[in-house]
Symmetry: C2
Subunit: 107 residues, 2 copies
């Protein structure tokens, strides 16, 4: 299991469009076999700052995610909405244990 935090800074004029495109991508991503979670959060004191908390079942799942139609559509849609290139950091999950990461996938 692998956790990736993706940091995105969006141009102010594109916040609504970014949210719409990103929620659509998140909904589709949750259907992928290799994805456990795909949370989207917006910084409270900076509405242009977003973090995607992506939880993958295996180390090769992120690669497969980046080949999906919905990821490619999202990537192209949001390309011009970013104030700067997005960045990501990979993490090893320590807690909870594996089963505790699973959500009800009610979206």
């Amino acid at each position: 299991m692998l956790v990736v935090l993706v940091y995105v800074q969006v141009l102010p004029d594109y916040v609504e469009d970014f949210i719409a495109a990103t929620l659509e991508n998140a909904r589709c991503s949750l259907q992928e076999q290799g994805i456990v979670r795909f949370d989207v959060v917006q910084q409270q004191d900076d509405p242009c700052a977003f973090v995607l908390v992506e939880v993958y079942r295996t180390v090769d799942a992120p690669g497969r995610h980046k080949e999906t139609e919905h990821y490619l559509r999202w990537r192209d849609t949001v390309a011009d909405m970013m104030a700067e290139p997005r960045s990501s950091i990979k993490f090893i999950p320590l807690f909870p244990q594996t089963a505790g990461w699973e959500t009800h996938h009610a979206v």
Copy 2:
């Protein structure tokens, strides 16, 4: 609902002790009524860097968390293990919808 990312940089000699104290705090925190998730992750390319992904049911839940015995014990235990003061950022959850944040709480 409120998501808080807490960033902690630990001194190399204290990584194991920090993990033990933090997992104990995470287990206890998950029992709190106001806490939905309390994930602990360790940065893949820097084992001294940790993020706590804390998901609270209400805006006043973080305050109540900080009054609990387990939080106070954790705070005191890890105080001298940090390489720098920890920082936290608050986020508004956008996805999934409320029920989707709930885990099975299997720990």
